[in-house]
Symmetry: C2
């Protein structure tokens, strides 16, 4: 009987124990053999938990149990999660993880170690939560040169932007409502400043382009400055406002950034609302595919981690380690990427048209105007905007 | 050096040879070893083909070459494709296929034979073309009891319905335009009558519910009777018209059908236009995911088949055979499934409201009215409709 261990007993850890128990038979069939929960690593006691017999605060029990073949790390962060992942791999155990911070920062190192030790290192749940995303990218689309990946990679910000668009709320009001409903954390910084989306963008870029990207190097702008005026004007212009993480192949490596975007109303991503996530993948053979679903949450994320556990057990003879890329490759400056831009400015039509003769400005209820430019780089845009009182500008997904 | 063979040199076969050559290095990395094209089985000579050295009309050459580990069947139909697939498996070769008719009708038999012979039988390209769909369903979502799968599974009909909605064309005009552009065949029956979508629905049901479904038993209605009035009224009511293949778990097995549906404009599927396909999967842990992309075409389908070739080579020691289910299980009558319905009728508001007091009818340019009912079974709907001159009714996706 093969055992697995769960490290962490928070939202995802609890959900993982539940999902593994609920679909035990189906997962064992997928794994090719019966699997049993060996341990759940916790930081304090849960005497009333249905899994109280499995709880331990001592990682070395897990590390030294030869029957434990797979360790699921759902602690989060780069502290204990990193140490335990490393020790588990060194002890010859496969590691699966939903920890985007750890995978983005130390994933390549852990993957190399896993290859060396002949175990699997899988992290389907680290990007897109329950959406099947990394396995499709790496395996189903193996016949493609990946040219771009981009998507709505954070549910909290998408929930807030959706509420702002639907209810006409400002950012702070929408954030407070999201917090009250449990869709945003008490400290929402990592979500609203785009840091979470940045880590996921780094992982997608790593897998797509063969370079291991430092997430700290990815230009990241969150949604705190997005104003109700922007939502209103975007709608009038035929767009939705979405926080996109994007990574595109360039001649010397790739270009990656996280920024609010205007997405055409006819694009599938414009229909992805609330806490839903979606990721588009452009490949040389397939064209474009878009994968949508719940990007976070207890059971959806557990769904992805549990699938990885079954795969790691199934493929013990042929360990699975997605390629997170090698150091090197130039992260091209995002500013150099030409695109159409949305501009919100305070100004009479003649001033706007003097600076942007092709613009078709619309006016919002506050009297400010919004328009979309022809494609240009960011420096070119800033030069052209000098003659206007610009309040905001965002990229338009072309 | 491992060799693979391609059976068939039509649209998909040609694309497959191109994609395998274009991404040879990446595919070999995914497969874990170098792969080489051994043969392409053709029905006549192509003296100018870049692959002329690989062409053969003699299947026994492929069957008897011990270096050929994988055979890609992209012939289509259930004649030669069935015979060669069977002989290849019996000769100890893995078979991959994009042939939905063969997989829907003989897939379970070929899968059993593959298991017996210890080879892989994969068919990612048979449903959704280039969309990663079957591997996500079977592997990424292994931790889910699948409750429903439904989607836009045929690009030709979606192209026609999109053109009818956008251009106000009738079915025949839109079909002719689709044929002129190569999006519909000279004999469009299999597409427009829903037969192609029916086969794909059967495969999705097989993989989701554990019963092997006879596609001939799936109630199938195509789009030939959809009128411009329906597109117009649907839009006024806030819906798009889509041909959906649906399969849902029931207490005794599953329920499966193919019918035109009204899809709410806010649903992702309503944004899937033209030749694009999309499939939604509802699972016990993940909730709902939607996978979208090109559902047909040379290179997109080849993308899926090539990924299967790499996987079959990679996992020679642990053959991959998705479970197409066992005989048995009752295919519940679709008529018993309650849903809201769209009704188009010729009648004054008072007659409509007498029969459906809660209806909010809208009127189209031809003077006919359309409305959406509360959820009910099909027999209940037909009973209620007796007092009206009903011209058409379709299910509404709730």
């Amino acid at each position: 009987m093969i055992k697995y261990a769960i490290l962490g007993f928070g939202v995802v850890g609890t959900g993982l124990a539940e999902v593994m128990a609920d679909q035990r038979k189906k997962l064992s069939a997928a794994a090719g053999q019966a699997m049993e929960l060996g341990y759940i690593l916790v930081r304090h006691d849960y005497p009333d938990s249905p899994w109280r017999d499995k709880l331990t605060q001592d990682f070395s029990l897990i590390e030294n149990d030869p029957d434990v073949a797979v360790v699921a790390e759902v602690i989060g962060g780069c502290g204990a999660a990193y140490e335990y992942s490393r020790r588990a791999i060194l002890a010859g155990k496969s590691v699966v993880s939903s920890n985007k911070e750890l995978v983005a920062v130390h994933g390549a190192e852990l993957a190399a170690l896993a290859r060396e030790k002949g175990v699997s290192y899988l992290f389907e749940g680290s990007v897109g939560g329950g959406i099947p995303l990394l396995r499709p990218l790496c395996r189903c689309l193996a016949a493609n040169r990946i040219d771009e990946v981009y998507g709505i990679l954070n549910g909290t910000t998408n929930y807030i932007l959706t509420a702002m668009a639907r209810e006409g709320q400002d950012f702070q009001t929408a954030l407070k409502a999201a917090q009250a409903l449990g869709y945003a954390e008490a400290d929402p910084t990592a979500d609203v400043e785009g840091i979470d989306a940045c880590r996921k963008t780094a992982i997608l870029a790593d897998l797509s382009f063969g370079y291991n990207i430092d997430p700290a190097a990815i230009l990241t702008t969150g949604i705190t400055a997005v104003a109700p005026d922007d939502l209103e004007l975007a709608q009038s212009l035929g767009y939705a406002v979405k926080l996109l993480g994007r990574a595109a192949r360039t001649e010397t490596g790739c270009c990656a950034f996280v920024e609010p975007h205007l997405v055409p109303a006819s694009h599938i991503l414009a229909s992805v609302n609330g806490v839903m996530n979606a990721c588009a993948i452009r490949g040389s053979a397939v064209g474009e595919v878009v994968l949508c679903g719940p990007g976070a949450g207890s059971h959806p994320t557990a769904s992805a981690v549990a699938g990885d556990i079954a795969d790691a057990v199934r493929h013990r003879a042929d360990p699975q380690v997605p390629d997170l890329g090698a150091p090197g490759g130039v992260l091209a400056p995002a500013a150099a990427l030409a695109s159409p831009w949305y501009v919100r400015a305070d100004g009479a039509p003649d001033r706007v048209l003097a600076a942007f003769p092709q613009a078709r400005p619309v006016y919002g209820s506050s009297g400010e105007c919004g328009f979309v430019t022809e494609p240009m780089t960011r420096p070119a845009l800033e030069e052209r905007c000098k003659a206007l009182d610009v309040r905001a500008f965002y990229r338009v997904l072309a």
